[in-house]
């Protein structure tokens, strides 16, 4: 606690560290924290229950999570998980009596092109096939410390398949910073405006406007936040960017700080990317040594900006900027009521720029080399990083011009026999093979980076079900339409998948979708019912395989409902 200055805002960081050290947060920890940070203990309990990776009941010494993203499913994650569970003699989510291991599932861990992925005590391991699962079980049973596990398991290479201006790494380190100081904030913002750069996380808000509004907002304290909570299933381009281009991102944040007049910045890094943390810390230290970060940047007196890395603890909704800020303040990640927007009332109610990793990286390039770095002319309006995964020869990162046709992207990644593409993750849009002429752009098929390919062997109802369950699991539970709606959608989708679906269920799902889209508090609830209904509209066969054409069919399973009674009667009859 002393390390965190007894700041109640740090409670989540402390809890996360306790969890990783002890595999549990004890009741006594909660009490000590409550007294030390002057917080009600319920607030601490509230946080533990909110974040997926915090627990007040013990996990195993080896706490293993399989990524439950559809892309991992497609690469056999369920098989590997079963193998590991059997080898260790555990049920999913339940540690063995000796407390050796827990094998569980978690939402997408961002290793979609190299799954099945797992996290072991917070550290990512890729390509966990059955063979690796068995080897892993041996290591666990042998109590081999994680440090002594095969080194190659932990090497996360980035499959960079196509390079544009950003991935070609032409920008000299420090050049954006030098130019930003030379040309001044007005010109920085003008350049960003000319470049046409818009938020790359998916929302597409013009970057220059965000910076400009923040710069002109009242008060003298401002903040810069880099949103590295890349949780959209199927997205992993920020991971690669932080891995290979971390400096560009840091430089973009620093330029932003100088431009808007902030002296503090945060990288909110998702828990799943713990393996990137040390590398980033090292880069931050190096930049401080080189005078590119910290006090008096590049020797300019009074230009101060430093960056701290703050870790998430497992919550998709924290990718929404106002929820991210709540989380950064050490609270449950509930999206705030907007307006006011973070750009005027953000972190600690101060004006705050929150941008995606990719946005900062491009901004650095634009400031270093001018607007032409991003946008050549009207017919080449910019670039976008795509994370391509699923059924294709060459999954990985592609830097492609904005406006690239879906078909071109499919060709680039070597996709064959395509049935459908999910653009923009579960909350995005599902395109059929007839829609390859659609463009990847804000005005057509918008994506924050996720691009998942499904070939004709895939059952798209299973895919939609995976997405529906993902939303139900990640709903923050704040508003009625999303909290209850996502649960009901899972019930109804399961009903259909189990062969009990009928027309009335579809009708009810449509009504629910209408309500959730219109009345939910944030984008999660607004898009949660979309995947299953879009799949129904575009791929009716995926449904008709498991659905009779009847108006009503009950889900009620008499056999299941009387199983308990039968069991008791059998036990009783046995006794007599």
């Amino acid at each position: 606690m002393a390390e965190f200055d007894r700041d109640p805002h740090s409670v989540m960081q402390i809890l996360r560290r306790l969890q990783l050290q002890q595999n549990v947060i004890h009741q006594s920890d909660i009490e000590v924290l409550a007294d030390g940070l002057n917080l009600p203990r319920t607030k601490i309990k509230a946080i533990i229950d909110f974040y997926s990776f915090l627990h007040d009941t013990p996990r195993g010494r080896y706490d293993i999570y399989f990524s439950d993203s559809i892309t991992d499913h497609m690469l056999g994650s369920r098989d590997s998980a079963r193998t590991l569970c059997e080898a260790l003699g555990v049920e999913p989510g339940v540690p063995d009596p000796g407390g050796l291991a827990t094998v569980d599932f978690t939402s997408c861990t961002g290793l979609c092109e190299r799954g099945p992925a797992v996290l072991v005590n917070g550290i990512a391991i890729d390509r966990v096939d059955n063979e690796r699962a068995i080897a892993m079980a041996d290591l666990v049973r042998g109590l081999v410390p994680l440090e002594d596990w095969p080194l190659e398991w932990f090497v996360i290479n980035d499959a960079i398949r196509r390079k544009g201006p950003l991935l070609q790494q032409t920008v000299q380190r420090g050049s954006a910073l030098e130019r930003a100081i030379k040309i001044g904030p007005d010109q920085v913002i003008a350049d960003l405006g000319l470049s046409g750069l818009r938020g790359c996380g998916g929302a597409g808000f013009p970057t220059y406007r965000k910076w400009d509004i923040c710069r002109k907002a009242g008060g003298d304290e401002r903040f810069v936040i880099c949103n590295a909570d890349e949780g959209e299933p199927g997205t992993f381009k920020d991971r690669a960017l932080l891995n290979t281009e971390g400096c560009n991102v840091i430089e973009g944040m620093t330029v932003c700080g100088i431009t808007i007049g902030a002296s503090e910045g945060f990288i909110y890094l998702r828990h799943e990317y713990e393996f990137l943390r040390e590398r980033l810390e090292k880069r931050l230290r190096r930049r401080r040594q080189m005078g590119q970060l910290g006090r008096n940047i590049l020797g300019h007196h009074g230009i101060n900006f430093d960056i701290e890395i703050v870790m998430g603890a497992g919550s998709y909704v924290c990718g929404e900027e106002s929820a991210l800020i709540e989380s950064l303040e050490g609270k449950r990640g509930i999206p705030r009521i907007r307006p006011p927007y973070p750009v005027t009332h953000g972190y600690r109610s101060r004006p705050t720029v929150v941008n995606n990793v990719e946005t900062f990286a491009y901004a650095a390039g634009i400031v270093a080399e001018g607007p032409g770095f991003f946008k050549e002319d009207e017919s080449h309006p910019g670039w976008k990083l795509l994370s391509i995964s699923g059924d294709c020869e060459s999954p990985g990162i592609y830097e492609l011009p904005v406006g690239t046709k879906v078909g071109e992207a499919l060709e680039a990644c070597g996709a064959q026999d395509v049935q459908a593409v999910q653009v923009g993750g579960p909350g995005g849009i599902l395109l059929s093979a007839d829609e390859t002429h659609r463009e990847l752009s804000f005005d057509d098929s918008n994506t924050g980076g996720s691009f998942i390919v499904f070939d004709r062997s895939r059952d798209l109802l299973d895919v939609a079900l995976n997405f529906t369950k993902f939303f139900a699991h990640e709903s923050c539970g704040f508003c009625t339409p999303c909290r209850v709606g996502t649960k009901l959608m899972v019930r109804m989708a399961d009903k259909i998948a189990d062969g009990h679906g009928a027309r009335l269920d579809i009708e009810q799902m449509r009504r629910l979708n209408h309500l959730m889209t219109k009345a939910s508090h944030c984008g999660l609830g607004q898009s949660a019912a979309v995947p299953i209904l879009t799949t129904y509209e575009k791929f009716p066969d995926a449904f008709s395989r498991r659905m009779e054409d009847v108006e009503y069919k009950p889900a009620f399973d008499v056999e299941a409902a009387i199983e308990r009674s039968r069991q008791i009667v059998a036990e009783e009859a046995g006794i007599r």
Binding site: T480, P481, V484, Q508, L515, K518, H521, P554, I568, V569
Partner: protein
């Protein structure tokens, strides 16, 4: 900023800093709401007060009024969404009005009435959250929590105690009490606290006070003037030759026969009814099974064992129009209160631990129907055409619905005949 906004074509003024719902309330325009309370900062979570403002749907409790704003509130589109929200809250928790002490004082119930909610169309998401009865004066029944966060705000902002907190997310969302033990008795809450008085539903209630005011004279019972006509679904076609009677079958599943008693309360009108109606299977005439084709089936009670399922399926097969009668048929009702309890515990309570039981044993005779793990509303087992809510529905409701159907009209029950408490 001050000025005027238009709400459902009515122009109303607003004062500096007012939200849409505040301006509307000041001018006597009612916008349905649950988590909004004039004494507290808006929460914006229940979404009941959602209005269409300048063409976009937003919470009216968090949207500041702006001069010239155009607000739609009392439209069929918005009310049907609000009705769905009420239905979602009802199935999310255990909201069984007939067995709730707060009935008549409940804002959720009142709003549901005002919005014309007559049926719970969604599957029950049965919960078994922890009840805290530790405090001598106050009971916390978490199964009824709707997460409006009013107690959280009241305890923090008015009482200065900060005793309640929402924990977790999605599936494991909960309401926690800040005390060493997590129990209400150690929290320092008193009956005078705002937090003990602000709960809009029956989640935080005062012990020993539940029936000081009888049902029928409670806060919202007295204000039943807001009338909302119920729209009913289309009727199947009964092709009747002149003079041919409509056949009616009735039965009670897991119910108390109270609905049947209420039906008989139509008194001498039954003589008039039988001029047009022929009773088929019913406890009223003791006929034990349905004819091949029956026009209308009235089913009272929920589904709690295999015999209920058999009876219900027979009804559905024979009856052209199936009506769920009363709270138990609609939502499982009072029998569904056992849903969070394990079946063995239930059987032991009834057959072994009950007072006065001799030769205690759990019956194992294969002739006996099996008890189901959960009591379900009948629409989860068969298709239901119409819901007649109430505990029991009033005699006039039976009278009216049968008359409507006999005369070929779609049943159109006025507001004061469709309660579910």
């Amino acid at each position: 900023m001050t000025g005027r906004i238009r709400i459902d074509r009515q122009s109303i003024p607003f004062a500096e800093g007012q939200t849409v719902i505040e301006a509307a309330t000041d001018s006597g325009v009612f916008i349905p709401h649950l988590c909004y309370h004039p004494d507290y900062e808006a929460n914006g979570s229940c979404k009941m007060c959602t209005c269409k403002i300048n063409g976009r749907q937003v919470s009216s409790c968090t949207t500041p009024a702006v001069d010239g704003m155009v607000v739609e509130s009392n439209t069929e589109e918005l009310n049907s969404e609000r009705r769905a929200l009420a239905q979602m809250l009802f199935v999310e928790g255990n909201h069984h009005c007939p067995s709730c002490e707060h009935s008549g004082n409940c804002v959720l119930q009142d709003q549901a009435y005002k919005l014309g909610m007559t049926a719970l169309i969604f599957p029950n998401l049965t919960v078994g959250r922890e009840t805290d009865a530790s405090h001598p004066d106050i009971l916390l029944n978490r199964d009824r929590c709707i997460y409006c966060e009013l107690c959280v705000r009241a305890s923090r902002d008015t009482d200065g105690k900060d005793l309640f907190c929402i924990t977790g997310r999605s599936q494991n969302k909960g309401l926690a009490v800040n005390s060493d033990t997590g129990l209400l008795k150690d929290s320092g809450i008193t009956v005078e606290d705002a937090a003990a008085n602000v709960c809009p539903v029956g989640c935080i209630i005062k012990k020993g006070k539940a029936f000081t005011k009888p049902i029928g004279q409670r806060e919202y019972d007295l204000r039943k003037a807001h009338s909302n006509k119920i729209r009913s679904p289309k009727l199947p076609e009964f092709v009747k030759t002149p003079g041919e009677k409509v056949s009616v079958a009735t039965c009670s599943l897991a119910g108390c026969f109270g609905c049947h008693m209420s039906f008989l309360d139509i008194d001498e009108r039954i003589v008039k009814l039988v001029e047009h109606v022929q009773f088929d299977r019913s406890p009223i005439n003791d006929i034990k099974s349905c004819s091949e084709v029956v026009d209308i089936g009235l089913v009272e009670g929920g589904v709690c064992n295999t015999e209920n399922i058999e009876t219900l399926r027979e009804f559905r097969k024979s009856c052209k129009l199936l009506i769920a009668v009363g709270a138990c048929a609609m939502s499982g009702g009072v029998p569904a209160l056992r849903n969070p309890v394990d079946v063995r515990e239930l059987l032991e309570e009834s057959y072994i631990d009950a007072i006065g039981v001799e030769n205690a044993q759990i019956p194992t005779d294969p002739e006996l129907p099996h008890i189901l793990e959960f009591v379900s509303p009948i629409h989860e087992v068969v298709k239901v055409d119409f819901f007649l809510p109430g505990c029991p529905p009033p005699a006039d409701a039976f009278w009216q619905i049968l008359n409507d159907i006999v005369e070929g009209r779609a049943p159109d029950l006025p507001y004061d005949l469709t309660y579910f408490d």
